[in-house]
Symmetry: C2
Subunit: 307 residues, 2 copies
């Protein structure tokens, strides 16, 4: 089995495992699957969940797509080669309860081939990031520590680098550099080099993908039955507005997909179910809402640096 | 009084007249004004209304801004000159009742000066467009006919050109070229030429600005007391999602403002108060909702072409 086949098999298994864990946690809603084909080559499985006990809206999507390297890809993406291949999983879950954080993750492999169909370039990309509406430090620590543990097993430089990438990427620059949430890890163009061969990198990406369930589901289970007020739901919907702003104004993946004839409904499954936009909304001084905002404006270290 | 001063005076008067007409129509909510200054020169008056009987959220903003022509303006906007000046009014009103359409308008003057502070270039831009949630043909006709009448007084080529500009501009290209609404008029870079001098163009722009109240307010008065169901409100919130998508993904003014350190809260006052995003939402065959979608996908002629 070559690397491409190994990765496809892994991604499909991960989709199944995550969907099962999410359904078990929700105990009401089930994923509905739409299979789609891409005219230019390949397709995907979009699985959406809505109106659950726990999850108000979400999607766990996979795609396996390929094609010829176009002139646009050569000029815009600085890509060389004859054919390309990409396979990944992308998920966003929007819980109903404002004490349960929204989560996003994406893990993907990209390959380029020459005219003999030999691999001439290959890289992994991925990451998982958390968007809470209220800050529970123990949840933030658990989430980050889970990914730090995975990273540290592979290379001690990974977590600090990928944690910073994440803080630097999910930024609403038009909102005083407010982050979308409390981050996580994010990496791209992770290519084999002298230190790490392709087998090392696929093992690392699989370990990150596998960490999603233990990183996120325990937080959901701990918070999903907390009671909340209408005012707390209101704040969640205001913050969801910031999520929309980031995804539609800044997110490279979203904009690239929408502008290159990607499947709109699969891409925009990331948007929250109900959202509020209010002029100049400011949380009260000293409130729990302001405490969340503070850590979005000033990213924190959530793990023990010496462990 | 030079043209710049004449236009500033006009825009401030228009802001006052529109705010008074909107408040009178709402009979509950009042505009709240935030005056802001721009470090680089000038400032604005943001006036927002919220939680009214008729208007759930809206803003009627003016700004008078100026500065030195920067290297970024020279390269990105292809602008030549020493100093620049811009003044305009920008308005968005989101009604509570789904039978009352959302409306947007913007009227502006831009001037460029040489080192002796002489005007070396000058253009007008503007337009008004309507975003209904349910189609009432008589309202669409009234709205378009009002602007056609104004345009025809100045130049019979204006309405057909500016109506098409509007249909071509407010497009969600990622949604099968669905328009944001049923259009109106839109023009930009309207510069003095052999046929139309600057006095003609300022008179035209003022006439368009003046037409806002008679074009829109009668529609509001006719529909504001219609009773509506939760399902109709739901549809309004789904369509408001498309409004958000257009403004954040495609609208040049919004993106330019957000990426050049404009005042975020004034720019994003355009976003609707409550919004829904649902995966693959499709109106029922033959429904009133589908009828609206049809005219967004296929722009119509709403005026009598022979009048």
């Amino acid at each position: 089995m070559n690397m491409k086949e190994e990765w496809i098999k892994y991604i499909e298994s991960l989709q199944n495992r995550i969907c099962a864990a999410v359904e078990e946690c929700d105990s009401k809603a089930k994923f509905v699957e739409d299979q789609w084909q891409r005219t230019e080559g390949g397709g995907g499985k979009t699985r959406v969940i809505s109106d659950g006990n726990v999850f108000e809206k979400g999607g766990v999507n996979t795609s396996v797509v390929f094609g010829n390297v176009s002139e646009a890809m050569k000029s815009q993406l600085k890509i060389e080669g004859n054919k390309w291949f990409a396979c990944g999983l992308s998920l966003v879950l929007h819980p109903r309860n404002p004490f349960v954080p929204t989560v996003h993750c994406n893990y993907r492999l990209f390959e380029l081939y020459n005219e003999k169909d030999e691999v001439i370039d290959r890289w992994f990309g991925g990451g998982t990031d958390l968007t809470p509406y209220y800050l529970f430090e123990e949840d933030a620590k658990h989430f980050h520590q889970t990914y730090k543990n995975v990273c540290d097993e592979f290379d001690p430089s990974f977590y600090p680098t990928f944690k910073k990438n994440c803080d630097d990427y999910f930024v609403n620059t038009h909102r005083n550099n407010e982050r979308r949430g409390i981050g996580g890890i994010f990496y791209d163009y992770l290519k084999p080099d002298e230190k790490h061969d392709a087998d090392f990198l696929i093992s690392f990406s699989k370990a990150c993908g596998d960490a999603f369930i233990p990183a996120y589901i325990p937080i959901v289970k701990k918070r999903k039955n907390c009671s909340f007020t209408a005012a707390q739901k209101y704040w969640q919907e205001i913050r969801r507005g910031r999520y929309v702003e980031f995804n539609l104004i800044h997110d490279r993946g979203t904009l690239f997909g929408l502008k290159t004839n990607g499947r709109t409904e699969s891409i925009l499954m990331s948007l929250p179910p109900t959202v509020r936009f209010e002029y100049n909304y400011q949380p009260e001084n000293g409130s729990e809402e302001e405490k969340l905002l503070e850590v979005c404006l000033n990213p924190q270290e959530w793990t023990d640096q010496n462990k």
